[in-house]
Amino acid sequence: METIKTKTINPLQKRRSRIFSAEARVAYICLIPAFLGLIFLTYLPLVGVLGISLTNWTGLKSPVFIGLDNYIKIFTTDPYIKDSIISTIYFAALSVTGSMIYSLFIALLLNRKIPARGFFRAVFYVPYVLPAAAIYVGWSWLYEGNFGFFNYVLSELGLNKILFIADSSFVVPSLSLISVWLAGNLIVIFLAGLQNVPVTYHEAAEMDGAGGWHRFRHITIPCMTPIIFYNLLMCLIANLQVVTPALALTNGGPGNSSRFLTYLMYDQAFVNYRLGYACATTLIIFAILAVFTTVLFKTSGRWIYNEGGDDK
């Protein structure tokens, strides 16, 4: 039997040896769009951003090479950079933590046998399909200083009113609450993951007398670690690049409290036309993102449970 099997000829295999075979030609034709995209939309601009960051280009005169001056300026004289880095990381920390806890919690609830599950899933998901700009405008009314909903609740509770997005100490937490509210896609991914946790594990554990918490801690969570990692990574990358709330709502204010790094870059490049300087800023954001994602990848081996086990 085995000899017959190995000798079966795969009709596609015949053409393998040829380099410019019909197969390869077809592949190259299929890949032309992506190839152009990779060159002109990704890798060339990446070189471009490095190059421009070493110049004093404003878009008007031709650029002059100034070496690392932009970077030196950013770290010595830039009035915004420190606040920007702090507010970006602060926002990402709050949003990522909040989104992860909220979405895992809701997914766990929806994973139980409750009526109208599909309906509830839709309810939690819907904020995600609304245009982001509209969401921030809508929420700005909920956060309004005198007549907004949140201040109504606060005054009913006998507390002082808060200006939320107009108060520099509250603006970042207020904006991250919105981004937690937008975490509907994370819920759906978690839910899919939960449904893939083998029921047999739970049954076996229950036989051994493991309670609900134990099963959650020692079965559900370990089985979910790859999904948790995926969500964490996506959520982190998205939130560290936050810009829409600043563009749609706060313009970086009040003060500099919501001048997130990407907004800072936007402001320098498209409002002040300091293209070289903005490119240097971009690379600093890139570096911060790279550090965070690398840390996440490096530590992932320790806590991600791999179904495949030790056999690699």
């Binding site: 009709p11 995209g37 471009g48 809701i106 245009p131 896609n185 995926y230 749609a248 990407t262 490119c279």
Partner: protein, 289 residues
């Protein structure tokens, strides 16, 4: 079954039922919290300004002022903005899905020289944050190609493979389809493109819809790029139109909220139509790691 075991089972069942009722109650509570902001925005859009500033505020408008929407539509050119948005989204979705499918097919099925290298470049670009390339691209599109105040810089990138992530998704999906299918077609004399169009594409329709939906969401939520590429107000998209409108009518909350609700509407309608695929698509991404 012993009586003790029977009793245990019964008490377990009862405990489960109580737990389910509690879960259901908590879900309802959170669902109300999640949907509440949208309701608050909507009810505001139907109120007079006097009613908005009334204390205590009412949850339901006294008389549902749909005329607010007429007023809003006079200032907020919603239909124009919606059309402009669709002019960007529709070609992008179609082209992006198609080119992503072509690439996904090549990576999943075909053998060619340099495959590993191109694949590595492709996957590598997935980890590259979008804002890194923003400024050089802006310069390229506006200075190099002269596309100032135009939709091309927003649409054309989707003619270039539809994004690494989407290519990846399609490739994974094609790889899950048995090769025997295309082999059988080869024996019948079908060429590679025939196989792609007649066998692969029908089989991966759900994945293609998912890719189209992802492109839709990306463009729908993007404000930054629209802001930098589009200048004149008659070319505004919904996102730009609304951001600008808010600036104009800072204190007229009912009209601003009416405009917000109008901007919500297409997404909600779109979601209700494509709900199944949305959820399926997100599920796909979550599981193919």
């Amino acid at each position: 079954m012993s009586t003790a075991a029977y009793g245990r089972l019964r008490s377990r069942k009862r405990r489960d039922r109580i737990l389910n009722i509690i879960t259901f109650a908590v879900v309802i509570l959170f669902a109300i919290l999640a949907i509440f902001p949208i309701w608050w925005i909507f009810r505001t859009s139907l109120m007079t300004n006097a009613e908005i500033y009334k204390y205590p505020p009412s949850l339901i408008p006294d008389n549902w002022l749909f005329s607010n929407y007429e007023k809003t539509l006079q200032v907020f050119k919603f239909w124009k903005y919606l059309w402009n948005t669709m002019v960007i989204i529709v070609p992008s979705c179609l082209a992006g899905t198609f080119t992503a499918t072509l690439c996904g097919y090549a990576f999943a099925r075909l053998r060619f020289r340099g495959k590993n290298l191109i694949w590595a470049l492709c996957v590598g670009s997935m980890l590259l944050p979008a804002m890194v390339t923003l400024i050089p691209l802006y310069i390229g599109w506006t200075r190099g190609l002269g596309f100032s105040d135009s939709y091309w810089p927003l649409i054309l990138p989707y003619f270039c493979g539809g994004g690494a992530f989407n290519i990846f998704l399609i490739r994974q999906f094609i790889m899950s389809i048995p090769r025997e299918l295309d082999q059988a077609a080869t024996i019948d004399g079908a060429g590679y493109f025939r196989i792609l169009f007649n066998i692969i594409m029908p089989a991966i329709k759900p994945a293609m819809i998912v890719v189209a939906l992802f492109i839709f969401i990306t463009l729908w939520n993007d404000l930054l790029q629209q802001m930098i590429y589009i200048n004149s107000s008659d070319k505004y998209t919904i996102a730009l139109g609304l951001t600008n409108f808010r600036g104009q009518l800072k204190s007229d909350w009912s009209l601003t909220m009416a405009a917000t609700c109008l901007s919500f509407a297409p997404g909600v309608i779109f979601y209700l139509i494509g709900q199944r695929y949305f959820v399926e698509g997100i599920t796909l991404t979550g599981l193919k790691n």
